[in-house]
């Protein structure tokens, strides 16, 4: 298509590197066929368990690749690049794939535990196996080395998500949410493609590796076009991330979607879009910013500033809008908006000599965010089944009806609010320390203020659980086994990360290097 570049075919050894994605795809096809062939009376929950098994299998392949890369004693820059560096298997991609697969597996387990209660879902099997192509999309986004591959991953994830949101076929809210999500997703894609086209026009390439050299050359000649390219790209991804002011869709869509799908959107979709932004900017804007060395480079700096402004807006808008929210899924959606703000901070702060742990801060926060958000959604499925609605007051007196579940919920809330002893405390602390060492004090102030405001609504939930005795003597709430597993895995890991944050942080820092695992085409 473009001159001088011959398309490299995929070879058998290459296929081996893509084993996690290909394996998931195979499992997906198998499950689709199985769903068609299996007689009606066979419970579709077995498909759910096979989905979980498939996700864990793919995670196994990723772990193997991760250890293999680590053990090979490779030189810096020796990354596995497939198809002309359009597909990259480095430790950044591996770490994120593990996060996405773990998140999707937890979501699938949550769906196993709660799908029976939702009478609006007509085709239960779809709720499970459609998670697989969505996960593949997220994995492609984490691994992509050029814009086209990235876009394919994005659309695979998005289109599958539209269907997932619409799965409560008997509910008009679900259909409405899906429709809104399609339209907003389309707008987001349009923004992203528009931005990408400008970047392609400026550099003559869609490879992230080429941006590094091409962008600095054309920066002084075409600053306006470059601004347009980057800002539309960021705005498009900001919609996917649900950062303010691009978050308006999130409460509607989360509310309409089946709860496990809401959790998936909050964690995996958001995480994948953030990962894509991180990967793109480190390979492009970084080299035309102050951090890239030499000369005045305003464009890149402005791009980073825009991210920080988005982060600040998301934190403030998310927390203040949540103050009066009484619908739990909308509340969690808005909490997700605020958390998106936090996650944008390490990306937007840029990498400097005094502050180089951005990516590990980002991954640490993403993992903690995954645990506490999925945990909170899982508790919500239990509550909404018992109460018959998803309002805040459903939590009232929970402590007396399900003491252990409410204890787990306290852990999630402590973590969401960023209090010790929980993973959330350290996740926030690392990012705060990063921002302090980058001397972004205004941002530190906003982070602290927004988390102080957030105590107000987080502790409203705790208050409901402990401090309001339920009017009539109510029965014990039963938690199904898969949901229980999700809740306790998440709560246990959240507490463990609150006690021993060093273990995970050290591990991330031991296997990840910026030069070797984030930049494209150095080899």
């Amino acid at each position: 298509m473009y001159e001088g570049v011959s398309f490299l075919p995929l070879t058998w050894p290459d296929m081996l590197y893509m084993a996690p994605e290909l394996f998931l795809a195979a499992v997906f096809l198998l499950l689709v066929v199985a769903d068609l062939l299996l007689p009606q009376k066979v419970s579709r929950l077995s498909i759910g368990w096979m989905t979980v098994a498939g996700l864990l299998g793919a995670a196994g392949f990723v772990v193997y690749r991760l250890i293999d890369l680590q053990g090979s004693g490779r030189e810096v820059g020796q990354v596995i690049e497939l198809l002309g560096a359009s597909y990259v298997v480095d430790q950044f991609a591996n770490l994120l794939k593990l996060v996405f697969l773990a998140g999707t597996a937890l979501v699938a387990l949550m769906a196993l535990g709660s799908v029976k209660q939702d009478k609006d879902i007509t085709d239960r099997a779809e709720l499970f196996y459609l998670l697989l192509p969505a996960a593949i999309g997220a994995m492609i986004m984490a691994s992509s080395g050029n814009l086209v591959t990235l876009y394919i991953g994005l659309e695979l994830l998005s289109i599958t998500s539209y269907v997932l949101v619409a799965l409560r076929r008997r509910s008009s809210k679900s259909a409405e949410a899906a429709f809104k999500y399609v339209v907003i997703g389309g707008i987001s894609s349009a923004f992203i493609l528009f931005g990408m086209s400008y970047l392609y026009g400026l550099t003559g390439s869609v490879d992230l590796g080429d941006f590094r050299t091409a962008l600095p050359e054309v920066m002084t000649s075409y600053p306006a076009l470059m601004y347009a390219g980057f800002f539309f790209l960021i705005a498009g991804f900001a919609i996917k991330i649900a950062a303010a002011p691009f978050h308006a869709w999130a409460p509607d869509v989360y509310q309409g979607a089946p709860t496990p799908v809401s959790a998936f959107l909050a964690v995996v979709s958001k995480g994948a879009a953030l990962a894509a932004v991180l990967r793109i900017l480190y390979n492009s804007a970084f080299f035309i910013s102050g951090g890239g060395g030499g000369g005045v480079k305003p464009v890149g700096n402005d791009v980073y500033l825009a991210l920080l402004v988005l982060a600040a807006a998301a934190m403030l808008a998310g927390t203040t809008a949540a103050l009066r929210q009484r619908q739990m899924k909308r509340l969690l959606a808005l909490s997700g908006v605020a958390n998106a703000g936090y996650l944008l901070v390490p990306i937007g702060l840029n990498f400097t000599t005094v502050h180089s742990s951005n990516v590990s801060e980002f991954i640490f926060y993403l993992i903690v965010y995954l645990l506490m958000t999925i945990g909170a959604f899982a508790v919500l499925t239990v509550i909404s089944q018992a109460a018959g609605h998803e309002e805040l007051k459903g939590f009232s007196g929970l402590y007396y009806r399900a003491p252990w579940t409410s204890a787990a919920m306290v852990v999630f809330i402590l973590s969401l609010a960023g209090l010790p002893v929980s993973g959330g405390f350290f996740a926030k602390l690392f990012i705060l320390m990063g921002a302090a060492s980058a001397k972004a004090y205004w941002l530190v102030a906003i982070m602290v203020i927004s988390s102080v405001i957030s105590y107000y609504f987080y502790f409203a939930i705790v208050r409901q659980m402990f401090m309001r005795s339920s009017s009539e003597e109510e029965s014990e709430i039963r938690v199904s086994a898969p949901t229980g597993i999700v809740i306790w895995l998440c709560a246990g890991a959240t507490v463990a990360l609150g006690l021993m944050p060093g273990l995970l942080m050290d591990w991330i820092q031991a296997i990840f290097t910026i030069r070797g695992d984030l930049l494209i085409g150095l080899g």
Binding site: E176, F191, Y227, F231, P245, A306, A321, S357
Partner: protein
Amino acid sequence: MEFYTQSAWLIPIFPLAAFLLLIALGRSYRTTAMLLGSAGSLAAFVLSLLVLFERLGPDAVDYSIRSFKWIVIGDYTLRLGFEVTNLTSLMLVVITGVSLAVNVYSAGYMKNDERLTVFYGYVALFTFSMIGLVLADNILLLYIFWELVGVCSFLLIGFWYARPSARAAAKKAFIVTRIGDAGLLLAILLLFWYMPGHALDFTSIYNVFHEGQSGVMTSGITTFIALLILLGAIGKSGQFPLHVWLPDAMEGPTPISALIHAATMVAAGVFLLARTFDIVSASEAAMQTTAYIGGFTAIFAATIALAQNDIKRILAYSTVSQLGYMVMAIGLGSVSGGIFHLFTHAFFKALLFLGAGSIIHAVHTQDIREMGGLGAKMKTTAWTFAIGALALSGIPPFSGFWSKDAILTTALDENPVLFVVGLAAAFCTALYMSRLFFLVFAGKPRSGHAAVKESAAVMTIPMIILAALSVVAGFIETPWNGWLSGWLSGSEAVETVHGGSSIAAMVASIGVGALGIYLGWLFFVKKSIGSGFMAAKLPSLLRAVERGYYIDEWYRVIIVKPLRGLGSTLAVFDEYVIGGTVRMTGALTTAAGRFAARLSNGKVQTYGLAALIGCIVLIAVIVGRRFWS
């Protein structure tokens, strides 16, 4: 050698173990719970005493251990460790001692509460956190325990959650103190960035700041950090203007008011200032601010206490006022004065609260106007309460006199204005305590409490022990024997005896104390001046004082309403612009026609438009900034 000091890490383990066991046991083991909780704090108390005795030896050096690597970020390592200094060991004894007394007392006070085991669990968790706060060898670890004690306080204030007022108070306490906590966190972040090697341990902080912090950071930053630390202390120790949560915190069970909201947690702010004194004292402006905030709080809260009628609220405002003395002492440069007052105050204020609990237990009201004549029926309570009241009023030879005198002497030397303020506060203190004492114990019963009888021994014995301590605790530092300040500062050289100013301060403080008590006696016993005197002359002033100068109302107007307004505005946006569609969907009865109609009513377009406008604003603001200049 130094065996007990090295095993100081065991001290928090005892209450932690008690807490974990109490959780595991469940609700039915009531007696076991009381024994476990008390045993945990007893063990901690004994070990703390042993540590203290070891530290009293001639050549005790500060002991700290930091062997455990906790977090590594880049080239920064945070180690987990504990440190035992003279200050720490004194605090340990105060915390574990009061905790033990409260544990034993609660066995009587709380014995009919159905959630007794939960109560003991919370108390054990609090004791653990508070010990951890004191032992922490770096400021980040201190912060973690600082938050934990805040959570325990929240849980215990709201312990009787069935009362709406308890729920409101718990939330208020949590959110108001959080403002201070945010300040402390910012201070830690600034320290993290500016300290050489990102060191956050107290030894490094001491080394940097004690030697005049030669060029490590500018004086502006130092002042800023010091003021942020002060903000943390203001929140935790109930200083003006964040004092509003402490009186409301009295909704918690009375033993909790004694332990957390009088003796230990609220003193954590003073402890923080003492622990980071090298930072605070590096900035003249911060020292001045500290001193004036403390002095103002002392007089401000003391006047409010004059007009309260709830026995616990009087004591709460009194706590705020006495904490003001401690903060003022530190601001005036006298750490030993502040810590000395913290030490004596812990005993006599815990005693007063336990006495108040004993009274409430007997008469089932907290309004002192409904009490009266209790002295004859509750002899032990009356006598111990009298000792506590005299100690608080600063009458020799009780402990409060010596510590208050130490602060006033410093004030007289350093800042005459604050001396006068402190003296006025001391007068008010004596007056409101004599009012409280005479109204409750003297005269005739004002409402029929026929069956009033003395509380059980399990409640009175802790009171007697605390009373004994309130008598003798003051003698560790007297104007002619500066043992405590020498020991705290780690130098053998005893502080110079103040001479003239000391005697002047002493005479003045005895004078105002005696005058306050005499006036109280005139008002409320002899009734030669009618008690309606103030109400008749200055009704609006009295009402203002009674309502705590309307500080809560001011907050409601200045902060809460605008924030609510912002929330409502956003909620309205959410409701009508965004949520409009959601409500229009109604129930699950959607005809296809209505569905189609709704899709075209423009709401989704609104989102798209919002996204586009957001993008344009972002470009306009950030890029436009470049082309503007």
